[in-house]
């Protein structure tokens, strides 16, 4: 997952300029010259300078550094799946946990992760359930964190 420096430079340049354009819209404090815009403005200006330097250095190394070089793992299906499950699984937790409930989403997430990381299926099932229950006990009971019950709320 290597990008040429110029790619980072371009992204950062856009970010820095966006901040610089946005900052003057911040209100000033009456009677004071230095409002909430000055500090982010200075930081963004510095970022723009760095971004330009990155673009220059990236273009200079264009011969050896391609725009984008995928890591060797991208050719291994198992590793791509593992990465996708990790990211998508976490997003799914964020979207579903409140509605469906921790005790249902967590073991499914764990099971999917275990299997995609190469754990045997029966070990994965048992571990997923045990870990979920331990985590629920530790956080819900001991630390009183309101982990969402979701759809099984009526059962308790």
């Amino acid at each position: 997952m290597k990008f040429n420096d110029a790619v980072f430079g371009a992204v950062l340049l856009v970010l820095g300029l966006a901040v610089l354009v946005h900052v003057p819209s911040f209100p000033s404090i009456p009677g004071q010259k230095y409002g909430p815009g000055i500090f982010p403005g200075v930081v963004a200006a510095a970022l723009v300078v760095c971004a330009v330097l990155l673009i220059v250095s990236g273009l200079r190394r264009r011969a050896t550094d391609p725009w984008f070089a995928a890591g060797t793992w991208t050719r291994s299906r198992r590793h791509v799946v593992a990465l996708v499950v990790t990211v998508v699984g976490t997003v799914a937790y964020v979207l579903l946990a409140e509605k469906v409930g921790f005790l249902i989403v967590a073991p499914i997430l764990l099971f999917a992760l275990f299997v995609s990381y190469g754990v045997r299926v029966n070990v994965a099932i048992v571990t997923a359930i045990v870990v979920t229950l331990v985590m629920h006990f530790a956080f819900y009971k001991l630390l009183r964190v309101p982990l969402p019950w979701g759809v099984i709320r009526p059962l308790f």
Binding site: F8, F26, I29, P36, F39, T90, V94, V131, V145
Partner: protein, 495 residues
Amino acid sequence: MDALLIAFQMVFEPKTLLVMLGSAVFGLFVGAVPGLTATMATALLVPVTFFMPPVMAIAAIVTATAMAIFSGDIPGCLLRMPGTPASAAYTDEAYAMTRKGQAETALGAGLVFSAIGGLFGTAVLILSAPTLAEFALKFSSFEYFWLVLLGLSCSIVITAERPLKGTVSLLLGLLIGCIGLGNPAGFPRFTFGSTELLGGVGLIPLMIGMFAVSEILRFAVDLDPPLRIVDQPIHNVFKGMWALARKYPVQVLRGSTLGTLVGALPGAGADIAAWMAYAMSKKFSKEPEKFGTGHVEGIVESGSANNSALAGAWIPALVFGIPGDSITAIVIGVLYMKNMNPGPTLFTQNPQNIYAVYLLFIMANLIMIPLGWACIKASKRILRVPRNILMPVILLFCIVGAFAINNTVFDIGVVLVAGIVAYVLEENGFPVAPAILGVVLGRMLEENFVTSMIKSDGDLLAFFSRPLAAALGALTLAAWFLPPVIRRLRRLAGV
């Protein structure tokens, strides 16, 4: 003296001792598993410490990190893979000793000199922090502005192979720190209309993402085959340690001193201390040719350096609120949550808390010896714990832990985004430590910058008007401009 008594009571309370024991076991385990770092141990502890009184929370973090930095040596010695980055400097050396049948000595030296280094760093912390705090009471916004800027500059100069990338990382951190209401004017900046962002991006979810989730992502795409453990009986690891201490007193002292100093410099922590100490040990050694072939001298020196760096990092963290490494960056977040705001007033108003921190450091480094010994004994079993089971469990822990701070799933999103961004940045040579420092120190930098600008009515020369401020300002400018000048001169000289 009353304060000291209260501190004793707080530390030796059974509950606190129990927390220390638990965090010690946790720290030893996390340190011993390759891919899990001491910083990650701290980030994972925070959601739990959130529910503890301040001294107990600090006890958990101090103990866990000290243990993790030591136990990182174990897989380095037995698998040739450092358990934490702080052990990477001498992993090859330790493994070479193992292959010569000297695993006992390598592990013993790691353990004993870790404890000695840690105690040395603690002694420096105890002796220097109160004096510095008294000094810091005289600081105005100008001095604080320069001090923060100096700290941030150090983090770039020391850590980054390419200072430009370190600077980018720092600036991104500063911008993230700008999000929300937390600025002198109390105006909501860059919130995109989101109520969750009004309070800013949570430091804890950010840390969990950058230091734990990024490691999990790295594991998910890791192609390396599982490592084979060297099967070698380990008997008495303490055998010959006294002789080593008598043979290498200068090395221990030098390593500990360097470690404490590097630790106290913002942005550089135990890992850089270990690399520098190892290099220095080789340079000054009478037998440099033996380095790399399984020679214990470098392990003695850098093993004491990485643990002393831990304590050293607390000096600027407690006195100025400027973290010395990424662990204390998290600690500062915890201290603010516990209303134990770091700064010189912490020493005058709550001396018992400071004494408690000292005691905790001493205790942690003392119990390291028996617990570390037990960990070495159990090491083969720990190293067999399959990481493909461990990593999903850690991910769920990150999710639940991030949720626990504010009870909002928004923070879980922050964890994931921070993890992905940190992973991509690190893959491309951008160090993440400056970004964290930027987030932690951004507000302090801005407050002192704006206050100073208002006081001086925009006159930048006023930043040098007080002698102390001028000195700190000169140091900061030197940190920026000296390294490139020296590099150019060297190139001109053809060296």
